[in-house]
Every structure is written in structure tokens, then in C-alpha cells.
């Protein structure tokens, strides 16, 4: 077994770039799954859930663009959306929600997961004294905005779930 480093800090540009790439993939998974939910449950979706999904897909696309701008600044490519979409499609049969309650739960998981990811990432960056080749303040400001929007997303989905 190889020695591991027990650390919860982001130590280098490469590691930061990789984590931001993972953030992009998570946003792409949300977008792609949301599109599949539409196709799967179109006839059963009511206006409230439809609006929620549309807003979530739009927000994910926006987050993805902001992360892509950061990744570009680190000299690393993004992961093409088409690639992630086809991976989601390939496994959707095994992981798809059965009805719109499941769709809401899936959406809640999306928002909670994204929130946790950005919160951990912010903490790991704040705990690191590494010098990154992109502006640290701008990086943290972007990630904090995205994290707060995810927290808002958790609240919105929870409210819709509680009303039903």
C-alpha cells in the first residue's frame, strides 16, 4: 500500500483545477439528469415541479460557466457536457426516479451534494497557504456565491416537498 497524505487542504494549482473540474461534472450531472427527468415524466410533471427543474438546470448551466472561467485561468480544459450527458444516459436506467416525489428527492440530493462540495472546497482552500495562479479572493467569492445559491436551492426544494 502506498502512503497517503492525511490533509484536507488544497495544495496546488493542479489539485484545485481537478476539484473545479469535479464541480463542473457535478453541475453537468444535474443538468443532464434534469433533462432526462423531463423526458421520463413529462406527462406527470405539474407546473411547480417543472419550474423547479427548469430553474435548477439553468442555475447549473450558470454555475458550470463560472467554474469553466476559473478552470481556464488555471490552464486546464473543462469536461465536455456531451461526454457527461452520455454517461448519465448510459446509467440513467439504473438510477432514475420512479415518480415526481422521487424527482424532487433527486433534486434535493443534487442541491445538498453541491452545497457540501462547495462548502468543503471553500474550507480546503481557506485552510491552504498555497499560492494559486488565479486570484484567491475572486476564486473564494465565486465559490461562496455558488454555494449560497445551492443553499437557497435546498430551501426551495424542501419547501415544495413540505407543501405536498
Amino acid at each position: 500500500m502506498v502512503a497517503v497524505s492525511v490533509s484536507q487542504r488544497v495544495a496546488s494549482d493542479d489539485q484545485l483545477a481537478r476539484l473545479l473540474q469535479i464541480g463542473i461534472v457535478l453541475e453537468e450531472v444535474v443538468e443532464a439528469r434534469t433533462h432526462r427527468h423531463y423526458q421520463q415524466l413529462d406527462a406527470e410533471l405539474d407546473a411547480e415541479v417543472e419550474t423547479l427543474l427548469a430553474d435548477a438546470a439553468e442555475e447549473s448551466a450558470d454555475h458550470r460557466e463560472r467554474l469553466e472561467a476559473l478552470v481556464e485561468g488555471l490552464g486546464v480544459d473543462s469536461v465536455p457536457f456531451g461526454e457527461i450527458e452520455s454517461l448519465v444516459d448510459a446509467r440513467y436506467g439504473r438510477t432514475r426516479p420512479e415518480d415526481f416525489d422521487d424527482v424532487l428527492y433527486d433534486q434535493l440530493c443534487n442541491e445538498e451534494t453541491a452545497y457540501k462540495f462547495y462548502d468543503d472546497l471553500i474550507e480546503a482552500i481557506e485552510g491552504s497557504d498555497a499560492a494559486f495562479s488565479i486570484d484567491r479572493e475572486e476564486l473564494l467569492a465565486t465559490l461562496t456565491t455558488i454555494r449560497d445559491e445551492e443553499a437557497e436551492g435546498v430551501r426551495e426544494v424542501t419547501e415544495v416537498m413540505e407543501r405536498r
Binding site: 490533509s7 469535479i22 448519465v88 440530493c109 451534494t113
Partner: protein
């Protein structure tokens, strides 16, 4: 995955390969920490009922410890598989070791929706290669291009 989970995963793999209690030295070596640090964390795991330490013999995970260790190993396998098959990272083991502390289990679960993990995971984990024995790596992995 937090530090405690990294320890649990390591103890699980070491006790499996040593076919008995894991020695503090082996755990410290595997984690790249001092024996004193390893002892301190083992004490915490013991206090939480996740491990049992027997003087001169080593550490053994309790049933609860084994459940958590297997979850942690599964999360590690997801991260490795994601890096190797989705991001085409050549040295996916090294990167997984760097990233595991920053990737939460819930995040790994989402990544799991786009990878093709085998049902026997994490039993297929091979400590020698530090990777899942079922993992197929692309013949010519492409690293993200540097601009």
C-alpha cells in the same frame, strides 16, 4: 472523507493483508504519518467503538468500524474510477489519495451515477495496485490539456 475514515480504510486494508490485527507501524507507514499520530487517532477510534487496540498485537476494527471502513473504501474506489474513466487521469491512484480527504461521501454518491462500478465493490480492491482489480483503464489515457 474525513481523517477518521481514512484511518479506518487503511486499518481495514492492512488487517486484511496481514490476516490479523494491524500493527501501528504498518498503519503509520501506509498513511505517511508518525506512529505517535497514528496512536492518537487509534485511541479516538477506540473511544468511538470503531476499533480495538491490543498491546503488542495491534489494532482490529469492530463490526461498526468495518462497516465504516468498507464505505470509505467504496468512496475511494468511486473517486479512482471517476478519475480513471471519466477524466482519463493516468496516475489516478495518486490523485485519488490527494482528493479523498476533500471529497465527501455524498459527492462520491453523485459521481457514482455516471461510473460503471461492479457489484462486488469494495471486495475487489487490490492493495498492491492501490486500485479496484476490476478497473479497466483506457489504453491511451489523455490528461486534460495544458494550454
Amino acid at each position: 472523507m474525513n481523517t477518521a475514515d481514512q484511518y479506518l480504510k487503511t486499518i481495514y486494508v492492512v488487517q486484511d493483508s496481514e490476516d490479523g490485527p494491524a500493527s501501528t507501524g504498518s498503519i503509520a507507514d501506509a498513511l505517511g504519518v508518525s506512529p505517535a499520530s497514528a496512536n492518537e487517532m487509534i485511541g479516538k477510534l477506540e473511544a468511538r467503538g470503531l476499533a480495538e487496540h491490543e498491546k503488542y498485537k495491534g489494532v482490529k476494527l469492530t463490526d461498526d468500524g468495518i462497516v465504516r471502513a468498507r464505505d470509505a473504501l467504496q468512496t475511494y474506489c468511486i473517486i479512482e474510477r471517476f478519475l480513471a474513466n471519466v477524466l482519463a487521469v493516468e496516475d489516478f491512484q495518486a490523485e485519488a489519495r490527494e482528493l479523498e480527504a476533500v471529497i465527501d461521501d455524498t459527492v462520491a454518491e453523485r459521481l457514482d451515477t455516471i461510473i460503471d462500478r461492479q457489484p462486488e465493490c469494495p471486495d475487489c480492491f487490490d492493495p498492491e495496485s492501490d486500485a479496484c482489480a476490476c478497473l479497466e483503464v483506457a489504453a491511451a489515457p489523455v490528461e486534460p490539456e495544458q494550454q
